[in-house]
C-alpha cells in the first residue's frame, strides 16, 4: 500500500493493522508524534488527516491510504506555524511531551472555529491531556492565535 505522510508517498508492506502512530514513529522515525495511551484517551498522538486532527494511535496504516497525513514536523511549511508562535510566546509547555499533540489539536480546532469561545476550546481540547497542567496557558495561546485578547 501507499502511505502519504508530510507530502511524501511511500510504499509499505508490513502489518496493515499497525497504528499510524507506530508507523510514523518506529518506521519513519518522525518522533514528534507521541505515544500516551494507545486508546485515543489522551491526544498525545494527534496528527492531521486531510487537515483534521485524528488520533494516530487508533488509526491503522491501511485506513490512512489515500489520505494526506501531516505530523508536527511538517505542520508549517516555512518556519513556525502561528499557533506554535503563540505556544512559545505564552510559554505554554512544562515537560512538553503532550504539546505537539495539543498544538496539532489546536490548529485543527482553529480551522473549524476561527474565533472559539471558552466552551469551544473546552470541547475541542478536552481530549488532550496535559499532566503538568498547562491548560490555562493553552487556552490563552489559542485565544491569542485567534486574534483575541487572552
Amino acid at each position: 500500500m501507499q502511505i502519504k505522510v508530510n507530502g511524501v508517498e511511500r510504499s509499505y508492506d508490513g502489518d496493515p493493522n499497525l497504528p499510524l502512530l507506530w508507523y510514523v514513529r518506529d518506521v519513519l522515525g518522525l518522533t514528534g508524534t507521541k505515544f500516551g495511551c494507545g486508546m485515543a484517551l489522551c491526544g498525545a498522538c494527534t496528527v492531521h488527516q486531510d487537515g483534521k486532527a485524528i488520533r494516530s494511535c487508533v488509526t491503522s496504516v491501511s485506513a490512512a491510504v489515500g489520505k494526506e497525513i501531516t505530523t508536527i514536523e511538517a505542520v508549517s511549511k516555512n518556519g513556525l506555524h502561528p499557533v506554535q508562535e503563540k505556544w512559545i510566546e505564552f510559554n505554554v509547555p512544562q515537560c512538553g511531551y503532550c504539546q505537539t499533540g495539543q498544538i496539532m489539536q489546536a490548529i485543527s480546532l482553529l480551522k473549524d472555529k476561527p474565533k472559539p469561545s471558552d466552551e469551544d476550546i473546552d470541547a475541542g481540547m478536552a481530549g488532550n491531556i496535559c499532566r503538568c497542567g498547562t491548560y490555562q496557558r493553552i487556552r490563552a495561546a489559542i485565544k491569542a492565535a485567534a486574534g483575541e485578547n487572552a
Binding site: L18, G36, I88, C95, Y97, A126, G133, Y135, Q136
Partner: protein
C-alpha cells in the same frame, strides 16, 4: 574538551583544568563527608574526558558551555540552575549552550526530586560563575597591564573602566586558562541588584524544540539496529512466572523472540518486577506479542491485598495509639478534663504518577559495558541499579539523560532502565523498552494510601487547647527494607511532625501499615495526606466555632515566631535544610495566608448560591504556600473551579515565570487528586489501567484561572515544583463545605460523590 584531565582535589571545592585553548571549571556538588567513599575518583576522571562532566567551559569563540546536571521534567531545572551560573559569570544567555550531564558522582547529588535543584545549585553555580569571571578579569588585566581592580565584567566582556577597553570572553579564555584557579575567599559575588537573570528568569532552553517536535524525550531515543521490547509483568507484586507460551507471540508479524526476566529479590527497591519480555521490530508488534504469551503466574502472598479491607485496617489502626513522633505538653490530661472536643477521620487512596510519557528506556550492552538513554530523575540510581542487575561495576554503566515527559517521582525509580539493560545483554542488540499506559498504571510505585485520625479539645473561643493526630500509611521505606511499617522522619517531616500551630498540648503519632504494592515518592509525597487532614480539620474547627476561616487559621498559626521543630520532634529533618538557613518561620506563613486571602477578595465578594471559597496553608520543601480556591457546585454535585489564588514564599525565586507555571500546574495536579485520583487493588491486582479508569484532570475540569502571587524575599531559595500541590485539595474541600455545608473527608469525589 575530550582531552582534558580532571585533577580532583580532595580538599578543594573547585577544580580548574587547563585544556587546549579553553577555560574549563568544574564544581563538586558532593558534600565533604561523601568523598571518602568515592575511591575511584581517578578512574572516573579518566573516563570523564569522553563525556561532558564539568559545569562550565568557555570556548575561544566565546561560546559558553554550561552543564545541566539535573534532569528536565517540566520544572525548568535544566535551564534555571545553569542560569544562576550564567548570571554570576555575566554571560550572555544567548551565547550559552547547555549540555546535559551523564550520570556521574562528580556532580554530587543529581537527583531531580524533592524540589531542591535550585536550592542545591544556588551557591555552587554562583561560585563557579564568579570563579570563571575572576579568571577572565585577571586575564584581561594582565593583557592590558592594569590592576585587576580597575577591570570588571559586563555582558560577555571584560571592561577596563578608565580606558574603556573591552575584551570578549572568547578572546580571553585561553589566557585565563593559564592562571591558577582563585580561592573561594578571593571571589567577589555580584550584589543582588546586579543580577541579570536571577529573579527575571528565562524560558526553557528547549521551548522551541518542544513546540516543533524536535525535542528528545526518552521515548524518542533511537540507535541503528535497535529492537523494541515490551514486558508482561506479574499482575501481583512479587508474583512469578510458572509457564508461558514461547511460540505463539512469534506468530505476530515483527515479533522476534521472548525473554524471561527473573523476579526481584525482596525488598524490591528499583529492581525490575520480572516477567516475560517480547522483542520485536516495532513497539506495537511487541505489545501485540504479549497478548499471546498466555502466562501462568504464581501470584504469591500479596494476592491477599484488597483495598476495601485494607482501608478498614488502616482506619482501625489510626483509631489506636501509635508511635509518638512529636509531643508538646499533655493532650491526654486535657482530654481527661472533659469539655468540648471534636474528632474527625480522613482517608486518601493510592495515586499513580501517570506521566504523559510512560516509563521507557534504551540500552546498548556490549563488551561488559552498557550505555543507557533514559528519561530519568536519577541517572546515578540508573547506574547503581543497572550495575547491580548485570553484575558489572557502576562505572561501566553510562547513563545519558533525555528530556522527561513528566516525572513526578516515578522516574526516580529506574526499574524500566534496568529492564532495557538486561534485555540488551540478552539480545545482543540495542533494545528500547516501552511501557504501555496500562503497564504504567498497573505497575507503579504508588503514592501511599493513608488514614488519619484527629482529635481536638476546644476552649470557649473555639481554639484548640489540645490537638492529637495520627497518620497511618504504608511507608516508602518498605521499598528499600523489608518489614518497614512505620514512617521515618522524612515521611513524617512532611506536614505531620511540623504542624505550625500555636497549641499548648499537641501529639503527632504514626501507626504501622504493611505494603502490598510498591510505594514511592509522588509529587509532594506525604505532604498530600498530612496537609489534607491538618488543613481540613483546622477548617472544621473554625466552622464549628462559627469563626471566619482565614481569621481562625491565622490565630491557629499564632504570633510571628521561629518554631524549633526538632526540640519536640527528634526525627524531624527539615528537608535536609539547616534550621539556621531554613527555619520554620510563622511570620512567612502568616504573610502567605494574608496575601492569598487579600488577592482572592476573601470576605469581600458576594458569592452566589452553590459557590464558596476555601483556604489552606502549608509549608513543604521549605516553601510557604497559601491557596484560596473558589468553587461552584451544581445540583448534580459537579464541582467547577473558576478561580484559584496562590501565594508563594519560596525565598529568592530564580525563575518567576517558570515558578508561576509550577503553581498553575500544581492546581491541576491537585484537581486530579480531588476529582478522580484513586488506585485500588483486588486480590493484589491493580484495578485501573488507563485514562478511562484512572482519569486525570482535563481542560474542562481544571481550574479556569490560577493566579500566582510570589512574595518578594531575600531568603535562600526553596522548592517550587512540589509545594503547590498539598494545600490545593484541602482548600477545594474547605470551599465545597463553604458552598454546600458538606464536609469531604475522603477523596476522590468520583468515589465519594457530593450527592451521596
Amino acid at each position: 574538551m575530550s582531552d582534558s584531565i580532571l585533577n580532583v582535589s580532595r580538599r578543594g571545592f573547585l577544580q580548574g583544568i587547563v585544556s587546549t585553548g579553553a577555560l574549563i571549571l568544574s564544581v563538586r556538588m558532593v558534600p565533604e563527608f561523601l568523598w571518602a567513599a568515592e575511591t575511584s575518583v581517578g578512574t572516573h576522571a579518566d573516563r570523564a574526558a569522553l563525556h561532558p562532566s564539568l559545569f562550565v567551559g568557555i570556548d575561544t569563540d566565546g561560546t559558553v558551555y554550561l552543564v545541566a546536571a539535573r534532569s528536565e521534567m517540566g520544572t525548568t531545572s535544566r535551564t534555571s540552575v545553569p542560569l544562576i551560573l550564567a548570571d554570576e559569570l555575566d554571560a550572555d544567555w544567548k551565547r550559552v549552550k547547555l549540555e546535559q550531564a551523564i550520570g556521574d558522582k562528580r556532580y554530587g547529588d543529581q537527583d531531580t526530586d524533592g524540589s531542591h535543584s535550585v536550592r542545591d545549585g544556588f551557591a555552587i553555580m554562583r561560585e563557579a560563575g564568579a570563579t570563571a569571571r575572576l579568571m577572565l578579569t585577571q586575564a584581561a588585566a594582565q593583557k592590558w597591564g592594569v590592576p585587576v581592580s580597575e577591570c570588571e565584567s559586563d555582558l560577555h566582556v571584560i571592561v577596563h573602566r578608565r580606558t574603556k577597553r573591552k575584551a570578549g570572553y572568547g578572546e580571553l579564555a585561553a589566557a585565563a586558562a593559564k592562571l591558577p584557579v582563585p580561592k573561594k575567599e578571593d571571589l567577589q559575588f555580584k550584589p543582588s541588584s546586579a543580577w541579570r537573570y536571577i529573579g527575571k528568569g528565562a524560558t526553557s532552553y528547549d521551548l522551541a524544540d518542544i513546540c516543533t517536535g524536535k525535542a528528545g524525550f526518552g521515548m524518542d531515543a533511537h540507535l541503528e539496529g535497535m529492537v523494541f521490547a515490551s514486558v508482561e509483568h506479574p499482575p501481583v507484586l512479587g508474583g512469578k512466572v510458572k509457564s508461558y507460551d514461547e511460540k505463539a507471540p512469534l506468530q505476530v508479524k515483527g515479533v522476534k523472540q521472548t525473554i524471561p526476566i527473573k523476579p526481584f529479590t525482596p525488598p524490591h527497591h528499583f529492581q525490575p518486577l520480572g516477567g516475560v519480555a517480547v522483542i520485536a521490530d516495532n513497539t506495537w508488534a511487541a505489545f501485540q506479542g504479549r497478548k499471546k504469551l498466555n502466562v501462568s503466574w504464581d501470584n504469591g502472598a500479596n494476592a491477599s491485598y484488597n483495598s476495601d479491607e485494607y482501608k478498614k485496617e488502616l482506619q482501625e489502626t489510626a483509631r489506636k495509639p501509635g508511635k509518638v513522633a512529636r509531643n508538646i505538653g499533655d493532650v491526654d490530661a486535657v482530654f481527661a478534663k472533659g469539655g468540648k472536643t471534636m474528632e474527625a477521620e480522613y482517608y486518601l487512596p493510592h495515586l499513580a504518577h501517570a506521566t504523559m510519557e510512560p516509563p521507557v528506556a534504551m540500552a546498548d550492552f556490549r563488551d561488559g559495558k552498557v550505555t543507557i538513554w533514559a528519561p530519568t530523575q536519577s541517572p546515578q540510581a540508573v547506574q547503581e541499579t543497572v550495575a547491580q542487575e548485570l553484575g558489572i561495576p557502576p562505572e561501566n554503566v553510562v547513563c545519558h539523560v533525555s528530556l522527561l515527559g513528566g516525572g513526578f517521582g516515578r522516574k526516580s525509580k529506574p526499574d524500566y532502565a534496568a529492564e532495557a539493560a538486561i534485555l540488551s545483554k540478552a539480545v545482543g542488540k540495542p533494545v528500547k523498552v516501552v511501557w504501555s499506559r496500562e503497564d504504567d498504571i498497573k505497575f507503579g510505585y504508588y503514592h501511599a494510601v493513608s488514614a488519619m485520625y484527629m482529635k481536638a479539645a476546644l476552649d470557649e473561643k473555639g481554639m484548640p487547647t489540645a490537638w492529637l493526630q495520627r497518620s497511618v500509611f504504608p511507608p516508602i521505606g518498605s521499598t528499600f527494607a523489608l518489614n518497614t511499617t512505620y514512617g521515618d522522619g522524612g515521611d513524617l517531616g512532611q506536614g505531620w511532625i511540623d504542624l505550625p500551630f500555636d497549641i499548648p498540648n499537641h501529639r503527632a503519632e504514626n501507626g504501622p501499615a504493611e505494603n502490598h504494592v510498591r510505594i514511592g515518592w509522588l509529587r509532594s509525597v506525604a505532604n498530600i495526606y498530612h496537609c489534607f487532614a491538618a488543613q481540613s480539620f483546622a477548617n472544621e474547627l473554625a466552622h464549628a466555632s462559627g469563626r471566619d476561616s482565614v481569621e481562625y487559621l491565622l490565630e491557629l498559626i499564632g504570633p510571628a515566631r521561629i518554631i524549633d521543630v526538632k526540640a519536640t520532634a527528634p526525627d524531624y529533618d527539615n528537608y535536609d535544610g539547616s534550621p539556621a538557613e531554613f527555619p520554620l518561620d510563622t511570620a512567612r506563613m502568616r504573610r502567605v495566608v494574608q496575601l492569598a486571602a487579600e488577592k482572592a477578595g476573601w470576605g469581600k465578594r458576594n458569592l452566589g448560591k452553590g459557590s464558596g471559597m476555601g483556604i489552606a496553608v502549608h509549608r513543604s520543601f521549605l516553601t510557604y504556600v497559601a491557596t484560596v480556591v473558589e468553587v461552584e457546585v451544581d445540583d448534580k454535585g459537579e464541582v467547577k473551579i473558576p478561580s484559584v489564588h496562590t501565594a508563594v514564599d519560596a525565598g529568592i525565586v530564580v525563575n518567576p515565570e517558570a515558578t508561576r507555571a509550577q503553581f498553575e500546574g500544581a492546581a491541576v495536579f491537585g484537581t486530579s487528586i480531588v476529582r478522580s485520583g484513586a488506585i485500588t487493588a483486588k486480590n493484589g491486582v491493580i484495578e485501573q489501567s488507563n485514562f478511562n479508569d484512572y482519569p486525570v484532570a482535563r481542560m474542562n475540569e481544571a481550574p479556569y484561572k490560577t493566579t500566582v502571587h510570589i512574595v518578594d524575599s531575600d531568603a535562600p531559595p526553596a522548592g517550587v515544583g512540589e509545594p503547590g500541590v498539598p494545600p490545593f485539595a484541602p482548600a477545594v474541600c474547605n470551599a465545597i463545605f463553604a458552598a454546600t455545608g458538606k464536609r469531604i473527608r475522603e477523596l476522590p469525589l468520583s468515589r465519594n460523590p457530593l450527592t451521596a
